[in-house]
Subunit: 176 residues, 2 copies
DNA sequence: CTTTGCATGTAACATGTTACATGATTCA
DNA sequence: TGAATCATGTAACATGTTACATGCAAAG
């Protein structure tokens, strides 16, 4: 039984798409799951070692890790589990909530403007990503697109909220 | 210099609103910041002890913790810092992304339905909360409302996404 | 009088990041 | 040949949760 079930899920999932080195698993996660998931090497290598011990992955002749039949079963089990509830920790909202205690009201404006810029940037990254993914020939594409659509909706929610809140505080949009 | 800057910010912020016991700080965070922030006792008590050592809070005669002038300066400094970027870890999207490897396609449907229910429940909690907060006589109310509006927009984004995705997979809404 | 809520704290554990050490390969 | 990228791993640290121990006060 391997702990770290969420990391385990991410690693097994990545290897279910295609075999990869530990480095490659991290690249895969960074490039394709990057907008909603993160793993560091310090998590990936120990997890791969444990998965190998448990017979859920093996090393191929080419020096890559590949998922085993047992690994696929384990992956299916993990996918059926409800997501572990993440405790909320939103640094942006924490600051907005206590904004009355800021030294300078401009601090709030800057915070909101930065949130707006980041959301706008995220939005255009998602649009590009959606175009790229749509071209791939893979039965998993609909699911991948669903995660991108989630990103788009939430980025737009943040963008609209930031603009609304800027207007609400009569700080107005950046005139430059 | 106290580490744990985000916990420090949450605790100082709570005490800037009004003095409280350690227990009360946790209640305040749970009740008012609950939808976007979380702290456990294991974080709060050591942080309060460090804040006291640093002269940022003191114990009142009534046995409560109160923020000092230095504490308010520190709070203003922390509020001016950009939010520490949270590494994304969305267990729902992780499962959706790898849904092709689920044992049973109904698992995806169940996942999405649960996300939809949770978002709907969150939405109605926010509506209630907004009504309550609107009645409070406190200059911070506009900022508090802003955080609730953020919650509403994001809950609605999740709700719409879940319904869209359920329809997309031709699984349809739950007929019961 | 006993249960619930208020209150404080710690120790063990789980999780996760960062910095470092090391070396092969590729490409300019 | 030198820089960048691929590749593996560990150790120290930071953060955060959970379970436990303890006791008081209020309410029923």
């Amino acid at each position: 039984m391997v702990r770290r079930s969420q990391t385990e899920l991410a690693v097994l999932g990545a290897l279910a798409v295609e075999p990869a080195t530990g480095y490659g698993v991290r690249e895969a996660i960074k490039n394709t799951l990057g907008h909603f998931w993160h793993e560091s090497f310090g998590q990936i290598y120990p997890t791969l070692a444990e998965l190998e011990d448990a017979g859920l992955v093996t090393r191929t002749a080419a020096g890559q890790f590949a998922i085993t039949a047992e690994g696929r079963n384990r992956l299916a089990d993990l996918l059926a589990e409800p997501p572990t509830p993440a405790r909320p920790r939103n640094g942006l909202l924490l600051r907005v909530f206590f904004a009355a205690h800021m030294a300078d009201p401009a601090d709030l404006r800057q915070l909101l403007e930065q949130a707006r810029e980041e959301a706008a940037a995220a939005l255009s990254r998602y649009e590009t990503l959606a175009d790229e993914v749509a071209l791939e020939a893979n039965p998993e594409v609909p699911n991948w697109m669903a995660t991108i659509r989630y990103g788009i909706r939430h980025a737009r929610a943040t963008l609209d909220w930031a603009e609304e809140t800027l207007a609400d505080h009569q700080l107005g949009p950046d005139p430059d």
